[in-house]
């Protein structure tokens, strides 16, 4: 007997089932098809402006910084300002996301590079698939538009979030993923990012910038 068949047989023997029981199969099929939403905290709910305010407050609580700009065209200047004020190099890497590629980078003094990171980049910018108010979390999706390496390797990560993509809770992001990629299908990676990288492994003292970015600067685009 293969390990697979043996393990399934052991599981069934312990549960005293054969695996063919119609009610059990129906219960599983309906759970997968309906994917019921459980308890969703009130914290992330409310009007559009409340959701945006909660997102900002929660993101700052986990030590991200947040800036709001009226339109995407203002984002390059905001990123340039942040780099300048923090005495950081004027370089920036991004993927082929049209929401980023179309921005007026040339109006800034930033030196722009493209594609995935090889580990030597100091700064990178990504555009978020969505964001979650409840926990101040960004949802980033893999692909040529926004390489996954940009989320982790640079020391400073900038993320553009369009106001209409800020939702209340993780369940709403899951619904958006299903709408975009299809039921039961997923992009290779979905990275939920809640604040900059940190470690408390030395005497339980929280230090930022363990393996991922030390700074996470979120630029929210558009009015509520």
């Amino acid at each position: 007997m293969s390990a697979r068949d043996d393990i399934l047989a052991l599981v069934r023997a312990s549960l005293h089932v054969s695996g063919a029981e119609a009610p059990r199969r129906a219960a599983v099929a309906s759970r997968l098809a309906e994917a019921p939403v459980g308890v969703v905290p009130q914290r992330g709910q409310g009007t559009r402006s409340q959701i945006l305010a909660t997102f900002k407050a929660e993101a700052e609580r986990v030590r991200a910084t947040v800036a709001e700009v009226a339109s995407a065209a203002d984002a390059p200047a905001e990123i340039a300002r942040f780099l300048r004020e923090n005495n950081l190099p004027a370089t920036l890497r991004h993927g082929s996301d049209p929401r980023l590629a179309s921005l007026p980078w040339s109006a800034t003094a930033l030196e722009i590079s493209h594609g995935p990171s090889d580990g030597d980049d100091v700064n990178a910018v990504s555009a978020a698939f969505a964001a979650i108010a409840e926990t101040g979390t960004l949802a980033l999706v893999s692909g040529s538009d926004n390489p996954t390496t940009l989320n982790f390797l640079p020391e400073n990560h900038f993320v553009l979030v369009f106001a209409e993509d800020v939702v209340g809770d993780m369940e709403s992001v899951v619904a958006r993923l299903k709408a975009t990629y299809g039921q039961g299908a997923m992009p290779r990676a979905v990275n939920f990012v809640t604040g900059p990288s940190r470690s408390a492994d030395i005497e339980q003292t929280i230090l930022l910038g363990a393996h991922g970015p030390r700074r996470l600067h979120i630029v929210v685009v558009g009015q509520p």
């Binding site: 393990i7 599981v11 290779r188 939920f192 990288s197 030395i202 393996h211 991922g212």
Partner: protein, 475 residues
């Protein structure tokens, strides 16, 4: 063979831990988790309802585990990944070593994985000439020290800052000897720089999984450092090593569990990185692994289903039980002698390595009940430890002195009249003898108690007698 257990020598381990001054200096840090968890729970009005929801999700999954496993396998395959089933440690190691050898792998970058500790993966890799690189800062520190984790989420909690500095100076010989490492930030920066190169050069990335999603064939890990996330992004091959009990039906179900996981563990609302991986790199993807493998390990879990210890399979490895355990606080994790310490380890270890090996651990509890009170999955840990004590007794593994003592007590307990008479007499006698000092520094047959603390002298009447008097007065 899995990691060798020193669990049968639990008492010796405890003596060693209690007299280890360095360990006793480090251990108070574990208590910080109590306040952070309480604050996180208090900030979320729905926390208790989420615990109920989380328990129901896992109970449902475990009751239908065969069907969810089949669905999960199908979805992983559909997304271009491979599922390898492993009945035990030997099969899991064989699968991983074969994957490594077939690709000529020289190094494996590891995300934190307790299951990899369970199967002794690092030793097996090293034995095959493959470097195993722990990338979680805590895991990296203890790997340098040649130690095992002493906590399931804070593996180096037994190590002080001074120890880390000494270890880094000992192992990072290529760096200037006079560099300043007095600040924790400097230690972190040094580890970051050294591990960055190892990430980039690793042939295989191996991570555990916090959850496996049947709906989509997705594996989920949570980290704060971003190490596991780099381990599953940079190398050409991503191997997920996970046990059967990590299955969850849907992403929405995982969202429920995630809300109680980090809060119970570190007191965060959510860990910094929650990373969902589904299959290998897609056409057009500029990064990500070219191969995606899942090693699904049973190692005794299937036998726990439907039995007395099935509740333990709900465990999501948050560590809250050990963070709140007075025994863990006193002796730390290594004393438990195997992979899983604290109350969850006391229940799980005998299930996985046998009651003969692990049977002492369920005795390491005061039954104060804090572990059950904070367990996000509402696992009745004290009750499960009691079941193990009964089994240990039934199988005559309990020491003769203890068995004799219990037999002696049972003789009286079964004869209430005699019990009352004897205890009444004993309390009066102890009251008279201890009256002057109010306490005993030594008593025959109670040396185990009086060796460490005084016994307060009884007030003259037994509890039962005083209760009778009080009830009479009320009536």
């Amino acid at each position: 063979m899995s990691l060798a257990a020193t669990t049968p020598h639990f008492k010796d381990n405890v003596h060693e831990a209690l007299t280890d001054a360095r360990l006793q200096r480090a251990l108070p840090h574990a208590r910080n988790f109590i306040a952070t968890r309480a604050a996180a729970a208090a900030r979320l009005p729905e926390f208790e309802a989420l615990r109920d929801s989380a328990r129901a999700i896992k109970d449902h999954t475990l009751a239908h585990l065969d069907l969810y496993l089949e669905t999960y396998e199908r979805k992983v395959t559909q997304s271009g990944g491979h599922v390898h089933w492993a009945r035990d440690t030997g099969e899991a190691l064989a699968v991983i070593l074969d994957l490594c050898k077939a690709r000529g792998a020289k190094s494996v970058a590891k995300g934190k994985s307790m299951v990899s500790e369970e199967i002794g993966l690092n030793a097996a890799l090293e034995g095959a000439g493959i470097a195993a690189v722990e990338t979680d800062l805590g895991e990296y520190i203890i790997q340098l020290r040649g130690e095992a984790p002493s906590h399931i989420i804070a593996p180096a909690i037994h190590v002080t800052r001074d120890d880390v500095e000494a270890d880094f100076r000992r192992f990072h010989r290529e760096l200037p000897a006079d560099r300043d490492l007095t600040q924790p930030e400097q230690l972190l920066a040094e580890a970051r720089a050294i591990l960055r190169d190892k990430f980039l050069s690793a042939d295989i990335g191996l991570t555990g999984a916090n959850f496996l999603i049947a709906e989509t064939g997705t594996s989920i890990i949570v980290t704060n450092e971003g190490n596991g996330d780099l381990a599953q992004t940079l190398p050409k091959v991503h191997v997920v090593l996970a046990s059967l009990d990590k299955l969850v039906p849907t992403l929405n179900d995982a969202a429920q569990l995630l809300r109680v996981l980090a809060r119970s563990a570190t007191g965060q609302d959510l860990s910094v990185y929650t990373t969902l991986s589904t299959g290998p790199r897609r056409p057009g993807d500029p990064d990500g692994p070219e191969e995606y493998h899942v090693v699904l390990l049973d190692n005794g879990r299937s036998a726990m289903l439907g039995g007395q210890f099935a509740d333990m399979l709900r465990c999501i490895r948050c560590g809250a039980c050990m963070n709140h355990c007075p025994v863990y606080h006193a002796v730390g994790g290594h004393a438990y002698g195997w992979v899983y310490p604290g109350p969850m380890g006391a229940v799980l270890t005998p299930s996985l390595i046998g009651v003969e090996q692990g049977g002492q651990l369920p005795n390491a509890s005061t039954f104060c009940g804090r572990c059950e009170a904070v367990c996000p999955m509402r696992i009745p840990l004290p009750n499960l430890m009691r079941h193990w004590r009964e089994r240990e007794f039934e199988r005559h593994l309990t020491p003769a002195v203890v068995r004799g003592g219990i037999g002696f007590w049972a003789f009286f307990a079964k004869r209430p009249g005699l019990y009352r008479f004897a205890t009444d007499l004993a309390m009066r006698a102890l009251h008279l003898i201890g009256r002057s000092r109010g306490r005993f520094a030594w008593l025959p047959f109670a040396g185990g108690w009086t060796r460490y603390r005084d016994l307060a002298a009884p007030q003259g009447a037994t509890f039962q007698a005083r209760w009778r008097a009080k009830s009479g007065a009320v009536r």
